[in-house]
Symmetry: C2
Subunit: 224 residues, 2 copies
């Protein structure tokens, strides 16, 4: 079939050179002992719900701050503040579909406090955020069960740049055909070092493993 499909190639946009700035930010954060996680997924994959659950498991052991990117709304920042009590700020991108290292740098400067862990909730989007290094030490990518196990095939860059992959809404497996092992295989082909966490923030399934992984990552980072 493949060769019968007509391919029309359209030019790639030129991406701003963002890498040097991201590397600089990563080094600065390393000196300060702040671990930055960049959380990426489709809209509606459950980023905010996952973060609330995760932060409540970690906040006794780590000083945590959250930076919530949104094109326009402020609901996620309010949710994080109300349900976890940790400091959270809003990054309004005014319609931009991603965050670049410059925006993240401004946000890191803008959130007041001494943190072990800063969590960046990127714009809900499987395309643009993958193209821009934010300066994070860990890219956490969420894929929800209802989205389907074929997403790594269709948005390969996102699954290449991720470090840890969280399959969210595992409680929805009763109504969706999502083959977790197949999804892992798709991702491993793009990304042999990927690690996986099937979770449900609703039932708590898998959340303790994910929280331990984050806690250990932060401890190792600060020890080095």
């Amino acid at each position: 079939m493949a060769d019968s499909v007509r391919i029309i190639k359209v030019k790639q946009s030129v991406l701003a050179n963002n890498d040097a700035r991201a590397e600089k930010l990563r080094n600065e954060l390393k000196e300060r002992g702040v671990f930055l996680i960049n959380v990426m997924s489709s809209p509606g994959s459950g980023k905010t719900t996952l973060l609330v659950n995760l932060i409540n498991r970690l906040k006794k052991e780590l000083k945590i701050g959250v930076m919530e990117a949104d094109m326009d709304a402020i609901v996620d920042t309010q949710t994080i503040k109300e349900k976890t009590g940790v400091p959270a700020i809003q990054i309004h991108t005014s319609g931009e579909c991603h965050l670049d290292a410059k925006m993240v740098n401004e946000s890191v400067d803008g959130i007041e406090g001494d943190f072990d862990l800063l969590i960046l909730e990127n714009i809900g989007n499987l395309v643009c955020p993958a193209e821009f290094d934010t300066g994070a030490s860990l890219n956490l990518v969420l894929l929800s069960i209802p989205e389907g196990d074929d997403k790594p095939l269709k948005y390969p860059l996102m699954f290449r740049v991720g470090n840890a992959f969280v399959f969210t809404k595992m409680d929805a497996k009763v109504v969706f055909d999502f083959d977790v092992e197949l999804a892992k295989d798709h991702i491993r082909k793009l990304n042999p070092n990927a690690v996986f966490f099937p979770v449900s923030a609703k039932t708590g399934e898998g959340m303790e493993e994910l929280a331990s992984y984050i806690l250990n990552s932060v401890k190792e980072y600060k020890a080095k």
Copy 2:
């Protein structure tokens, strides 16, 4: 709460002026009697599954062609061809997160045949595709039940530029809290003329109403 949330405004990217080209394409299609639908949603909202079901209901009455945008993969084009038999071509955007009027114009020139209805499946993304007028006469926006009823608040531009809104995966309402009336209210505030179709391509719920709406829209367009 709102005023306690710290807002960091970041600059808006300058969008290419795409409108004149889109208007020109729209006029050309009107002269040829071809109705163009631009289908937009998040990744995994069920665009391809919906299109297969819809095309099989309409293909006896309308000559239909499909243009499938994907960053890299060709699976959707294969699915459409195999499951409906209508002509379909692939638009590879090489990592671009949207289609603009120029790309769509090239694709319309590239798909061979005489059509009443061309369907453009845009990149799965609630951000970038909303910013670029494709020259379509109808923007069909899908929101799947698992994504949540708050998405219009978070991606307002998409829900402003849509004409008709399809709530997909209605069969999943058993496991997700999604308030259809609340979602409609959110959308109507952005877009008072919005029309709505709650459907399940799996069970067939609502599909006949959606197919009738499309058929009538094409007939009215061609009669004028």
